[in-house]
């Protein structure tokens, strides 16, 4: 388990690309650069990318001898965007179950369920999303029959890379679980049961850690979970691996905070539609929150307090927030989440940070991603306008220093059909 973690973690940092798109040396000049780091925003600045890394950023940067220069005057440069809750890599067509691996109906596997075993780096969803500026996501499991959905991973959208698992930036990145109405539904219909079940799982894990030898000799009381699941929960109860809990009602958030305190868990809240109601407690507990701005409906009784101002109110209260799409096909619309949060009170910089530098910290990859600073992975996007605007698109996207091809299945369909008068039947038309 831990060995695997370390392996994939470092594999993710390795340089990839002996094939077609080798990391090149590139200088992006003349742009407005939002570094999201200590250098802030630089007007008419330059970013130099070399060997997959950012080599230099600044208003006046000496260019290497052999460099491809991209004139980005009038354009905007940001770090690649990050979706903190996605199913990219785990699904092609939601309703075609053969292509959907985000959850399992096998209740014998809960915590041990690990998305890293199913991620498809060749998914058709990846090009569709990355040409719009998304470069990394958390590929997260969904609950099937268990409160504990399993382990998610941070992946980049650069494709397969040269070695197996190159796309795994951090795996596992977190354990995922659910409480509130969904948790109750999975636990016999009551919230009390769901909290008890989680508590039992954590207690069993602690007991298992202390009595592993006795367990293996068949000399210990039975546990709720299987051996594999208990193993997977060890880093959670040790406070090493974050536990992401999907929860919405204010009182459910409070219950979750109490549970996390009881077991000293490293908690992340997801959803938190009524988070603003208990913003002070969340801030005091220093628990980050993953938000879906556009989910502003009293869609269920647990979201009666949903509002578009949730991100702004949480931010103002000092809560660490990051955006999530909760989607796969349109994870690319993460920037619309951010833009709407700004329309409803969130500072612009905080909104961009909630898709770049903040998730980098939440997911423990701030050393290599999240800001445009020398030495970090070159996830860099050049935008034709304000990156939070729904009318802006990237003109170029780099993932770990590689310029990704600005094409996708969707763009090929577009080009095939853009001229319906073409006498050649569509099946022969090459975009």
């Amino acid at each position: 388990m831990n060995a695997r973690t370390a392996l994939t973690l470092f594999a993710g940092l390795a340089l990839a690309g002996a094939t077609a798109a080798r990391p090149e040396t590139v200088a992006i000049t003349g742009a407005t650069i939002h570094t999201m780091g200590p250098q802030g925003t630089i007007q008419n600045g330059t970013v130099v990318i070399e060997n997959g890394k950012i080599r230099a950023v600044g208003a006046s940067v000496p260019l290497p001898a052999s460099v491809r220069r991209i004139d980005a005057h009038g354009q905007v440069v940001t770090p690649g965007l990050f979706d903190s809750y996605s199913q990219i890599g785990l699904v092609e067509v939601n309703a075609v179950e053969d292509t959907e691996d985000a959850h399992s109906q096998d209740d014998r596997i809960t915590a041990a369920f690990n998305v890293a075993d199913a991620i498809n780096p060749r998914s058709m969803l990846i090009p569709v999303n990355r040409v719009e500026g998304l470069t990394r996501v958390v590929a997260a499991p969904n609950p099937g029959k268990s409160l504990i959905a399993g382990q998610g991973a941070v992946i980049d959208l650069g494709g397969p890379g040269d070695r197996p698992g190159d796309y795994l930036v951090r795996s596992p990145a977190a354990m995922f679980a659910v409480l509130g109405e969904a948790g109750a539904n999975l636990s016999g219909g009551a919230r009390e049961s769901s909290i008890l079940r989680l508590r039992e799982a954590f207690q069993d894990t602690l007991d298992y850690i202390a009595n592993r030898r006795a367990f293996e000799q068949g000399d210990r009381r039975p546990y709720l979970l299987s051996r594999l699941d208990l193993e997977a929960l060890i880093p959670v109860v040790k406070g090493e691996l974050p536990l992401v809990v999907g929860v919405n009602r204010a009182s459910d958030i409070e219950s979750t905070l109490r549970l996390a305190k009881e077991f000293k868990l490293k908690l992340i809240l997801a959803g938190a539609a009524e988070g603003w109601v208990v913003a002070r407690q969340i801030a005091e507990a220093k628990v980050p929150v993953l938000l879906n701005t556009l989910n502003n409906l009293p869609e269920r009784f647990e979201t009666l307090g949903a509002t578009l101002e949730n991100p702004a109110r949480l931010y103002k209260a000092g809560v660490t927030i990051a955006f999530m799409s909760g989607d796969a096909h349109n994870s690319r619309n993460i920037k619309q989440e951010a833009g709407n949060a700004v329309a409803y009170g969130l500072p612009w910089d905080a909104a961009l940070a909630a898709m770049t530098s903040v998730p980098a910290r939440i997911w423990g990859i701030a050393g290599s991603y999240g800001t445009l600073e020398p030495g970090k992975d070159a996830d860099v996007v050049i935008w034709d306008g304000d990156p939070l605007e729904v009318t802006s698109f990237p003109t170029a996207v780099f993932i770990r220093g590689k310029a990704i091809p600005m094409t996708s299945r969707q763009l090929e369909l577009r080009d095939r059909y853009k001229d319906v008068k073409n006498p050649l039947p569509p099946v022969y038309r090459k975009p």
């Binding site: 199913q87 959803g271 556009l294 269920r300 307090g305 619309n333 605007e389 729904v390 009318t391 577009r414």
Partner: protein, 506 residues
């Protein structure tokens, strides 16, 4: 959300994160229906012939006048009290093709009175300084399920799909609409939506009649019902009907089964229509053997399509299926008014343009099911390029709040491929074109003198993510004002929910 999807990623994710269901896209909430409405006495609804002069101006409320014996199920909508309003100095998108910088719009007696560069303020008119702001017609959603899939989305309120038979042309959406759905005020305050067509879901080949409403919650749906709007008939192609009924071990279970289902129904409808025509002929000629046929609510609706009174609103994703549906319409002599969702419409944009069929599309939904796999961002733009009637619709209680942003994405995608789409083009996708798609384009949908004064004053360019409705007027009356506490809407459902809904608006 379908039973299938409930079990898979969407559903589980929705459970986890609290997303709204995709009502029609995935054939929402096929849970067992409670209390199907025993519909209706009068099915003989006539399509509105002229822009309605709303008749209810006196103290007699609609409810009372209906009690007093007016025909059933008719609109009792009355506009809010209004006074003359002149918005000045704003960027005006008329949706009639014009963009007027520093222009003015005058509303008087519930109607657009004047639009232009300079308009004199009549005595007593309220003058609103629109400097830096934009004015558009009220946003129109041609595909909504508000009220029939109300929030909270509990099973008790799941009233959008009468999924008990592939042909339920006899049901009317208006008999499911809950006017206390808190999603109506959100669509108004966040989305600037003034009119919407509320449709039954897409589980069935024939889902039932739609109802078009003004977005002003009233005591019942009739108090919202758009005066003179025609009914629509919801039809559905493709995966949903065949999955729902195939899953029950009955027809249709294939696409060819779907088509056999449509055709069989139209054959019966044609005969029903002929029988009634024959009866009417004999009755008027005074013939002794004139025998009145039995009324049949299902066939009455289908016959209404054949006579042109009811508009076909056809959920259909794939290009080849849309072409088949056009053939069926030709076979039985009716017209498809609009294809909804129409994810592959860009593949047949020329045919849709030539046949005068609106394509009501999303900006970017794709991939949630097989028939949605080929969705592209440029769908609307390519349709526009071919000269077709483009509508951006929502099918979503989230999306209805941001139709302007969805159109903005589509416009920008077109421009990314070298088109030169402007705001004055894209505004039509949200106003006059959906009005046409639901048959109310003579009454509303553009800022032209004599039309209903359904108007949004935006804080900025409506195609920016940062812009919000500052004021929304419906029939010339201020229905929402971001800065006026007396113009905030709160449904019955939202009362007394401690500190949550209190501070929630917008």
């Amino acid at each position: 959300m379908t039973e299938t999807l409930r079990r898979t990623a969407f559903g589980a994710l929705a459970l986890l994160l609290g997303f709204a269901p995709l009502a029609c896209a995935s054939s929402s909430a096929l849970s067992p229906q409670t209390a199907a409405p025993e519909a209706a006495r009068s099915g003989a609804m006539k399509r509105g012939e002229k822009p309605s002069q709303v008749p209810f101006t006196g103290p007699a409320s609609g409810v009372e006048s209906r009690r007093a014996g007016e025909s059933a199920y008719t609109s009792t909508y009355q506009p809010l009290p209004s006074q003359s309003v002149l918005i000045t100095n704003a960027t005006v998108l008329t949706a009639a093709g014009e963009r007027i910088e520093r222009g003015s719009v005058l509303m008087r007696d519930g109607r657009i009175a004047a639009v232009g560069q300079t308009v004199e303020a009549p005595a007593g008119a309220v003058v609103v300084d629109g400097a830096g702001k934009w004015v558009t017609p009220g946003i129109i959603d041609a595909h909504s399920h508000l009220g029939v899939y109300a929030a909270p989305g509990v099973e008790a309120s799941s009233d959008g799909n009468e999924a008990t038979d592939p042909n339920t042309a006899e049901v009317w959406a208006e008999h499911s609409v809950w006017p206390q759905d808190p999603q109506f005020p959100l669509a108004l305050a966040t989305g600037g939506v003034t009119t919407m067509q509320i449709l039954p879901g897409s589980a069935n080949l024939f889902g039932g009649r739609s109802v078009t409403v003004k977005n002003l919650p009233a005591r019942d749906v009739y108090g919202m019902k758009f005066p003179g709007a025609p009914y629509g008939l919801k039809m559905a192609c493709g995966e949903n009907p065949k999955r729902v009924y195939g899953g029950k071990g009955r027809a249709p279970s294939t696409r060819m089964g779907n088509v056999a289902g449509y055709r069989g129904a139209w054959i019966k409808a044609a005969k029903y229509r002929a029988d009634w025509a024959e009866y009417e002929r004999k009755r008027q000629a005074g013939e002794d053997d004139a025998e009145q046929p039995d009324r049949n609510l299902q066939l009455e609706t289908l016959a209404g399509v054949l006579s042109g009174d009811i508009l076909v609103q056809n959920h259909c994703y794939r290009a080849d299926e849309m072409l088949t549906m056009i053939d069926i319409a030709k076979e039985f002599g009716y017209k498809v008014t609009a294809f909804h969702h129409a994810v592959e419409a860009y593949k047949i944009a020329d045919v849709l343009a030539a046949n005068g069929i609106c394509a009501d599309v999303w900006a970017d939904w794709w991939g949630f099911k097989m028939e949605a796999l080929d969705g592209i961002r440029e769908n609307a733009a390519l349709l526009q390029k071919a000269g077709a009637c483009v509508v951006i619709h929502s099918d979503s209680s989230e999306g209805i709040q941001r139709l302007n942003q969805e159109a903005a994405k589509s416009m920008a995608a077109g421009n990314r491929m070298g088109m030169n789409l402007r705001e004055e083009d894209a505004i039509r996708w949200l106003t006059i074109n959906p009005a046409k798609s639901i048959g109310v384009d003579r009454q509303t949908g553009s800022l032209e003198p004599g039309k209903m004064a359904d108007v949004v004053l935006w804080s900025g360019n409506p195609f920016s993510v940062y812009s919000r409705p500052d004021k929304v007027y419906i029939d010339g009356a201020l229905a929402y004002d971001r800065n006026d506490p007396s113009r905030q809407l709160k449904t019955d459902f939202e009362l007394g929910i401690r500190d949550t809904r209190e501070e929630v608006q917008p």
